[in-house]
Amino acid sequence: MKRKITALACAVTLSICLITGCTGGSTASESAHETLTVFNYSEYLDPEMLELFTEETGIEIKYEEATTPEEIYTKYISGGIDYDLICTSDYMVKRLIDEGEAQPVDFSSMEYSSNIGQKFWDISKSVDPDNAYALPYFWGTLGLLYDTTKVKGDIDSWDVLFNGEYAQDIIMQDSMRDAFMIALKYLGYSINTTNENEIREAADLLMKQKKDVQAYLVDEVRDEIVAGNASIGVIYSGEAYLGNQYNSDLAYVIPKEGSELWIDEWVVTKKCKNMDAAEKFLDFLCREDVATANFEYIYYSTPNEAVVAAMDEELKENPAVVPTDESIANCEVCTQNDPATIELYNELWKELKAQ
């Protein structure tokens, strides 16, 4: 669920292109080399780890990046490049599995796969019921980032977004499912409901709320809260952690009504012909030093318990980095809806935005 596009990402992409471009050129002559084509969100893996993997195994990585699950799916399906490994988000993982695009992987035979906590294999079951295809990579929650100097007391409920108390001082996510998820949870419904009345009730709530919303944003939520343009913003946990680095008065909370829990996972596509190399890569990602390097590159919550165990106490207690079990007790993973519900969502979302 990596959504941030920054100049850094461009620089990293460019440097990776250069690196892979160079190695690609030099190894073309000695074609005995194994290669893996890896597709990931941008800025979502420490590029040094790719070099380390090639150094250790001799397997060359062709690395490709995109920014949204839809972009990843479209590029994969269009078939221009045969990707061996894809990292994408929960509902898109489900779609790939459902459409028969993923290959089963024998995770139990991997040396380091046990570093991934059982909790996350269980969470992963909401998109991959038998844990046969997907390897958890990063996870997180959607919650509220707020400026403790500007709000009264501690915030623990989505109510602050709807009671009018902070009119024109709140920022919502400019993302259909995320916005509806908040209203559905606030009303006490499941975020994956297909009940039309419940979805319409949530839409009514959002329409009433619109006059109080300062803006609907995605990448800029953090910057706006840090800059003090708004007091409360709906934000992904990883972004909240970064916001906290800029301004220590900011706090992150997962509201008590529950929220969305997202998980990004790796799948091996059916186009992959070298399962052995793919498994080596996945195992490599689970290894503590590699997972730590990737964690310190992004600061999203890691499902790797070896990494969590080795963290500083301060980091471990930050709800944006390691959410407590009770705070995520009411959280759900967002799954792909049926076409009729998607259609309903699209219509209601347009109606809300055009209001």
Partner: protein, 274 residues
């Protein structure tokens, strides 16, 4: 021989047009005329008139129209002043006017966002001067401001060009025959520069109509333009058929505008050259 050589010269252009205009256009129209199952339909083309889309269309049309009018109101007097000024190096003035276009337009819009946001630079200055603060960010006005900021050079250049190319003799003749300054402007400069205004309108109105990035950044995602809906259909809803249908309908609107202003433009330009 000569003719075939001319034809050869056209080949890069033909390849370009075929590859990047004609073929994509065929794909878009094919998508627009089918539903998600692939069956023929015209529903996507008329979807622009459904209540929500109509709302966005009206918003797009009115913001584009307001932006265009403001651009004319700024560009036209500026062009007249420039013509009458005695600055020798008009090219330097022109250079300064075009300079903003060299900067990436997203960057300029982001800068505008910094300026006008609630805790932005302008409000800080107003606060220091103890003047009332402006609350313009995330409103349609902010989008208009962004569009005018971005597209003003596209209005200025053709208008300035047409006004500067009016021969001094014509104006002097009018003055000899007793026209005062105002009369010269309304009866000589205005009619002779309408061609430039026409192309300026096309060059500002068309991109403003299809705009969605400025609306996202300066509108705070609260104002939905047709461009935003098309973007949503392609990226979020994954309904490429509806997105294509709306794009084709929007192209029809753009075409109508271009025909209205473009045709008059040619006639006037023709009249002028005679």
């Amino acid at each position: 021989m000569n003719r075939s050589r001319t034809r050869l010269l056209a080949i890069p252009y033909i390849i370009w047009i075929a590859g990047f205009t004609v073929i994509p256009l065929i794909f878009i129209i094919a998508k627009a005329m089918t539903d998600q199952g692939g069956a023929f339909t015209v529903g996507n083309l008329f979807a622009i008139f459904s209540p929500i889309h109509r709302k966005a269309l009206i918003m797009s049309l009115s913001l584009a129209a307001v932006s265009t009018v403001i651009c004319i109101l700024i560009a036209y007097p500026a062009a007249i002043i420039l013509r009458e000024s005695h600055i020798k190096k008009k090219s330097i003035i022109l250079f300064i006017l075009i300079l903003p276009m060299w900067m990436n337009f997203i960057l300029r819009i982001l800068a505008m966002q910094m300026l006008i946001s609630n805790n932005g630079i302008i409000n800080h200055i107003l606060e220091v001067l103890s003047l009332p603060q402006i609350k313009i960010i995330n409103t349609p006005q902010a989008i208009v401001l962004g569009m005018v900021y971005d597209y003003l050079p596209y209005m200025l250049l053709p208008v300035l060009n047409s006004i500067l190319s009016i021969p001094q003799d014509v104006i002097e003749a009018a003055q000899d025959l007793g026209s005062d300054r105002l009369h010269v402007i309304t009866h000589i400069i205005l009619p002779l520069s309408l061609g430039g205004v026409g192309s300026g309108i096309t060059m500002v109105f068309v991109p403003s109509m299809t705009e969605f990035v400025i609306a996202n950044i300066l509108g705070g995602g609260k104002i939905l333009l047709l461009g935003n809906i098309i973007e949503q259909e392609f990226t979020v809803s994954m309904n490429w058929n509806l997105g294509s249908g709306l794009s084709v309908s929007l192209m029809a609107f753009v075409l109508i505008t271009t025909l209205i202003f473009g045709r008059g433009n040619e006639e006037r330009a023709g009249g002028f050259s005679l």
